[in-house]
């Protein structure tokens, strides 16, 4: 296993870069970060629409979330491959396809997490804010969301780790991310699939495990510093 790491680590880390396109773990992380960066605001909007007093808005978004949660991410990726070029009028790379599919998929899941957080805030908080004369939006922005988002921070970090894992599906549409790179390595080595895919698993494990542990630690720090009951 160490042999493989010693020989092929640049490919696993950055793909063909700098002689070719960036790939490997670097691309995996880029896709995941982009996915999160776009899905977070989208999911916030969906969650707000879900809890809004406007009936049709909450109905439509509820159905959207239900449908997205009902189909496999892979199916969504194939849809994105077909739909996104039609929407923007030119062909797109596998990279863009993957990011778009991940954003929509994660937004649906994150929206549910945020909605649950909003609904878990005791109604007394809303009443206290409204009885001082603040508007619905001000109450949302200053009183409900700061508490709700902090409360669901652990679930949101779990979603981020999930996103990193889900980028591996880029392999199926030949996005040059970590799993795809590992498969290339496997094709070069040819005789040691157990070791190559073992290394691949270990790399994912180190990244995801250390990330989730440090995010959990960070969350505890924030909570403790606020001494919140």
């Amino acid at each position: 296993m160490l042999e493989i790491v010693r020989e092929y680590w640049p490919m696993l880390l950055v793909g063909q870069y700098p002689n070719g396109p960036l790939g490997g773990l670097a691309l995996t992380l880029i896709v995941a970060v982009l996915g999160l960066a776009f899905s977070l605001p989208l999911s916030l909007l969906i969650a707000l629409a879900r809890v809004s007093p406007v009936k049709w808005l909450s109905f439509v978004t509820a159905q959207f979330v239900r449908v997205i949660r009902g189909i496999p991410l892979l199916m969504l990726i194939f849809w994105a491959y077909f739909v996104v070029p039609k929407l923007i009028g030119s062909s797109v790379s596998g990279f863009t396809t993957l990011v778009c599919a991940l954003v929509v998929y994660q937004a649906a899941y994150l929206a549910e997490v945020i909605r649950a957080g909003i609904e878990a805030i005791p109604s007394g908080q809303i009443e206290a804010s409204r009885s001082m004369g603040s508007s619905y939006m001000l109450t949302m922005r200053k009183v409900i969301l700061p508490q709700a988002l902090l409360n669901v921070l652990p679930s949101m970090t779990n979603q981020f780790v999930s996103t990193i894992k889900e980028t591996s599906l880029g392999y199926v549409i030949s996005v040059n991310e970590l799993t795809f790179s590992a498969n290339q390595v496997n094709n070069l080595v040819l005789t040691q699939p157990l070791q190559v895919f073992g290394v691949l698993a270990v790399v994912y494990f180190i990244v995801c495990f250390s990330l989730s542990r440090s995010l959990r630690w960070l969350d505890m720090r924030i909570r403790r510093s606020r001494a919140m009951a």
Binding site: Q125, E127, A128, S131, G133, S135, A227
Partner: protein
């Protein structure tokens, strides 16, 4: 200052408020008491529209609370409300809680808001807790902060919804003390409370409610020495035993 005429409210088939008539002059303190489920909390929650009404009319400071053009948010800025469960915002410090309405709703400058918040916190004796989060305070301290927060926008009227019911007995006194001082300074107050000692000392009138109706309104001396209504007599003997 507050005028309620024939106020009625239903929860489905159940009538929780039945033809309520009640008026308060400026500077008056009224205590509302009665058994649980008698509608007293619902009553004061209709005054700032936390609950809606189906019949009658409510005026605060000469304005019809339920008029179509009435902006509920500007109305509520003129009515301080103190909850049984304090409802401080746990993600803000004590100071930020008190400044919230001034900065975010009335859009006053940070400096001015801070000065007023500090003087209010000084008044309720919590200046040293200014940077603490509510979770680190005792129930009595939290309720005093909540009173300071309700006072921040300088409302001419204060409503108290069982402000001491969620407190441990030894903390009731400190909250009542703040409320007494407020009453002596001439604040117009409606208090739903079981604290009969408080009622006796500061109330101008005591309102006894049962089954969604006002059964008796009297000055404290009359109410406590010779209550007219049989339910009020029984209620008082129960409270005293407790």
């Amino acid at each position: 200052m507050i005028k309620m005429e024939k106020v009625s409210k239903w929860f489905g088939q159940h009538q929780v408020l039945n033809d309520i008539d009640l008026s308060l002059n400026k500077g008056e303190v009224v205590v509302i008491c009665g058994p649980s489920g008698s509608g007293k909390s619902t009553l004061i929650r209709t005054i700032n529209r936390l609950e809606s009404i189906q019949g009658g009319r409510i005026e605060v400071d000469g304005e019809d609370v339920y008029a179509g053009h009435m902006n509920v948010n500007s109305l509520r800025q003129k009515i301080g409300f103190v909850f049984q469960q304090f409802n401080l915002f746990p993600h803000m410090t004590v100071l930020d809680n008190v400044m919230f309405g001034l900065v975010n709703i009335q859009k006053r400058s940070k400096k001015e808001s801070m000065e007023r918040a500090r003087s209010l916190l000084d008044r309720v004796g919590l200046l040293e807790k200014i940077n603490a989060y509510p979770g680190a305070l005792s129930g009595g301290q939290q309720q005093r902060v909540a009173i300071a927060r309700a006072l921040a926008q300088q409302p001419p009227v204060m409503l108290f919804d069982e402000p001491t019911s969620a407190l441990d007995p030894e903390m009731v006194g400190e909250v009542l003390q703040v409320m007494k001082e407020l009453a002596k300074e001439g604040m117009t107050m409606v208090c739903v409370t079981h604290e009969m000692g408080f009622a006796r000392e500061v109330a101008d009138r005591v309102v006894f409610m049962d089954a969604g109706q006002i059964q008796e309104i009297a000055d404290p001396e009359t109410f406590f020495t010779s209550p007219q209504h049989p339910r009020a007599q029984r209620f008082l003997s129960d409270v005293h035993i407790r």
